[in-house]
Amino acid sequence: MSHTVLVCDDAIFMRTMISDILAQAGFEIVGEAETGSQAVEKYRQLKPDLVTMDIVMPDMGGIDAVREIVKQDPDAKILMCSAMGQQALVVEAIQAGAKDFVVKPFQPSRVLEAVQRVLG
């Protein structure tokens, strides 16, 4: 059975691209979230194998969402999607429990490597 993924990003563009990259690699995209609070809610409902999480989102940011999700499920496998220059935020996200990160602009190979590392 293929791994299930929840894609969290406030930009449809990014969600589409991440979903395309992962779907082409055989992952099953089971849900999308546009805000941190949606991400937390959908994680609870869907219990995906993997979450990709944007850092900057309206309502609740990605780092707070990581904290909430890890509180619910300490084994949650969350991959942060960051932009260049977000050094401090990435560090904070990892301390909050994110398992790895990729940096925009995404290269499919880098994304898939990171996903493999996260899923072990």
Partner: protein
């Protein structure tokens, strides 16, 4: 990977974000002390940056990055916006917009961004102050275990030079190591990982029974590791931590996203197909009626119902809220008001009202003309307003309201109103109205203003000058099957009301016969039908009219107007059209029923009466002309 497939998505979404930026900047400008909009601005610009970087659009990324930096500084400082900063942010937003549009069509190179980029840089430098502090402290609650100096093996790691965000990668390496034992003595200290200056070289001590090769493998698993050296053991300490067992995966309920974006051309194609289906359906209905076979009737009815549902579905899919066009106006009105030293409060109402995308796309320019006129010629200067006892700030309201099968969009200002006397004088001089007329009604005023050439005449525009572009607006709205009305009162203001059909492509129409021809009259503006020869007729201002519900309805004899020879039947129907306040009764030979017609645009030959808006194919394959309500009322 092929990025071109994402270009359209990039464009659509960037436009949305940049439009939101405009709104947020305007909000901020209104109450500069309230920094609430900065968060939204930051997120919008950040999103555009991420998308642009992915698409490889360097200039967009560059401007967005610097704008984001500036916003970030403003956000952290919770600073009020100065006018200078706001103007810079407006400029940056505009530069982003241009860059986005050019990048998508591959003309990014034409853009010179040096100036705005330099200004953003220096503004950010000014805000950051001389000792620019990195925001390192925020995440300083490190997971670092208490240090036991000197214990464990020395692990030295070098990350790949090209690795992005090395601090994050280093932290992941530390976490991997922690899976094997106790980590301490991290050098440089973990807080340095948050700095942009971190060069990717770090070391730590790992107290673990694991073999050097296992430690190296674990660290490498963090990714982007160039080199690891695991030194000799100094002192064995605590037992290794068992890695946490992986949680059992739980069954997921698949959930798909509920929105997709569809290329408008696809919807147009679908619409065309449905149009043909509707035509064929008409033909089927006629054949079925001729056959009188209940089985065929049944099928015809089913086909009718299904195609009606299908058509309604497609039309619904084409519906777009007016804000998609309206959202750029607040900024335009603001810019224009600033330029002209006017004070204008601009309000938009009914943003969520929906129109067919094809109609909405055509509305931008006419509305822009009307708004520009309202600011330029309608609203007085603050000084003049004060003299007239008005508040110095003028008001312009753009409103959309749904009315039956049409949508009314109005542009109203509380400015000086149109100087009827001047317009009348000029219209009389040009022989456009009765030389003895003493006043112009609103309708006459619009007819005069809408004459091409008249409106742009300098003598008019410099005095009361309403004219610029009104002929353009009227022509455009008419072409869409809509109408314009004007109401103006000296000293109080002016309002234009545009009425538009909700959808263009397929409309329900009355089919009327005149002579041997059939004509279609869209039901959008049909108020009722009455019978000619039953109602008494009177003459009003030299025109034949009937009185209906206490109102005068002038009559138009279609037979006469179209030059059809012979007499109309003594008793025949009058179709009463209503457009806003204006009414008119169209006298035809007979009514042949109602049906859905597919509107085809057409180029009328020279000399054609300006009363046709298009053509349609009837069920029997014979074309019929569509009467333009706007031209008849």
């Amino acid at each position: 990977m092929d990025l071109s497939q994402y270009a359209e998505l990039f464009l659509a979404e960037s436009r949305e974000h940049l439009s939101a930026c405009n709104q947020l900047l305007l909000d901020w400008e209104r109450t500069p002390a309230n920094p609430a909009p900065v968060g939204g601005l930051f997120r919008a610009v950040h999103t555009v940056k991420g998308m642009a970087a992915t698409m490889g659009y360097g200039r967009v990324t560059d401007i967005a990055h610097r704008t984001e930096n500036l916003l970030d500084l403003l956000r952290r400082g919770s600073r009020p916006a100065t006018d200078e900063l706001l103007q810079l942010l407006f400029r940056a937003r505009d530069a982003l917009e241009t860059a986005v549009e050019l990048s998508v069509v591959g003309r990014e190179d034409e853009l010179d961004v040096a100036e705005v980029v330099a200004d953003l840089e220096s503004a950010a430098a000014l805000l950051a102050g001389p000792a620019r502090s990195t925001p390192a402290s925020r995440a300083a609650a490190a997971v670092e275990p208490p240090a036991a100096p000197g214990a464990g093996r020395l692990v030295e790691v070098t990350l790949r030079a090209e690795a992005p965000i090395k601090g994050g990668r280093a932290l992941l390496a530390l976490k991997r190591a922690q899976g094997l034992g106790v980590v301490h003595g991290v050098t440089p200290p973990q807080a340095a990982f948050e700095s942009d200056d971190f060069d990717g070289r770090f070391s730590f001590r790992l107290d673990s029974p694991a073999a050097a090769a296992d430690i190296e493998r674990a660290v490498r698993e963090a990714g982007d590791v160039e080199h690891v050296s695991v030194g000799g053991e100094e002192r064995r300490g605590a037992a290794p931590r068992a890695p946490a067992p992986a949680g059992a995966p739980v069954e997921a309920t698949p959930e798909k996203s509920r929105h997709i974006r569809v290329d408008l051309r696809r919807l147009d194609e679908l619409m065309d197909l449905i149009g043909e289906l509707v035509t064929v359906r008409g033909r089927l209905n006629e054949l079925a009626a001729a056959r009188r076979d209940p089985a065929v009737d049944d099928v015809a009815i089913q086909i009718s119902r299904l195609s009606a549902d299908l058509q309604a579905g497609i039309i619904q899919a084409r519906m777009t809220p007016v804000w998609q066009v309206f959202d750029r106006f607040p900024r335009l009105v603001r810019d224009l008001a600033r330029e002209l030293d006017k004070q204008v409060a601009f309000r938009v109402e009914g943003k969520e009202i929906e129109l067919d995308r094809a109609i909405l796309d055509e509305l931008g320019d006419p509305l822009l003309h009307l708004l520009r006129n309202a600011v330029d010629h309608g609203i007085e200067t603050p000084a003049e307003r004060r003299r007239r006892g008005k508040p110095p700030e003028g008001e312009i309201v753009l409103t959309a309201v749904r009315e039956r099968a049409s949508v009314a969009i109005s542009v109203s200002d509380d400015g000086r109103g149109i100087d009827r006397a001047r317009i009348l004088e000029r219209a009389q001089r040009e022989g456009l109205v009765d030389p003895h007329a003493e006043a112009l009604s609103d309708d006459q005023l619009l007819r005069v203003l809408a004459r091409p050439g008249f409106s742009t005449a300098d003598a008019v525009t410099s005095v009361s000058g309403r004219g610029v572009g009104i002929d353009v607006a009227v022509t455009r709205i008419r072409a869409l099957g809509g109408s314009i009305d004007i109401r103006t009162e000296a000293g109080k203001g002016t309002s234009f009301v545009l009425r538009l059909p909700v959808t263009l492509a397929i409309v329900r129409a009355l089919i009327a016969g005149v002579g041997r021809e059939r004509y279609a009259l869209p039901l959008t503006y049909v108020a009722e039908t009455v019978e000619f020869g039953v109602q008494p007729t009177t003459l009003v201002e030299g025109r034949e009219a009937i009185v209906l519900h206490d109102r005068v309805v002038p009559l138009v004899h279609l037979r006469r107007m179209l030059g059809v020879s012979g007499d109309a039947p003594r008793r025949c129907p009058i179709i009463v059209l209503e457009m806003g306040e204006r009414r008119s009764g169209i006298v035809v030979d007979g009514m042949l029923g109602q049906q859905e017609i597919v509107v085809k645009g057409f180029d009328p030959p020279q000399g054609t009466l300006p009363v046709f808006s298009g053509a349609t194919i009837m069920g029997d394959g014979i074309p019929a002309l569509i009467l333009d309500a706007g031209g008849l009322v």
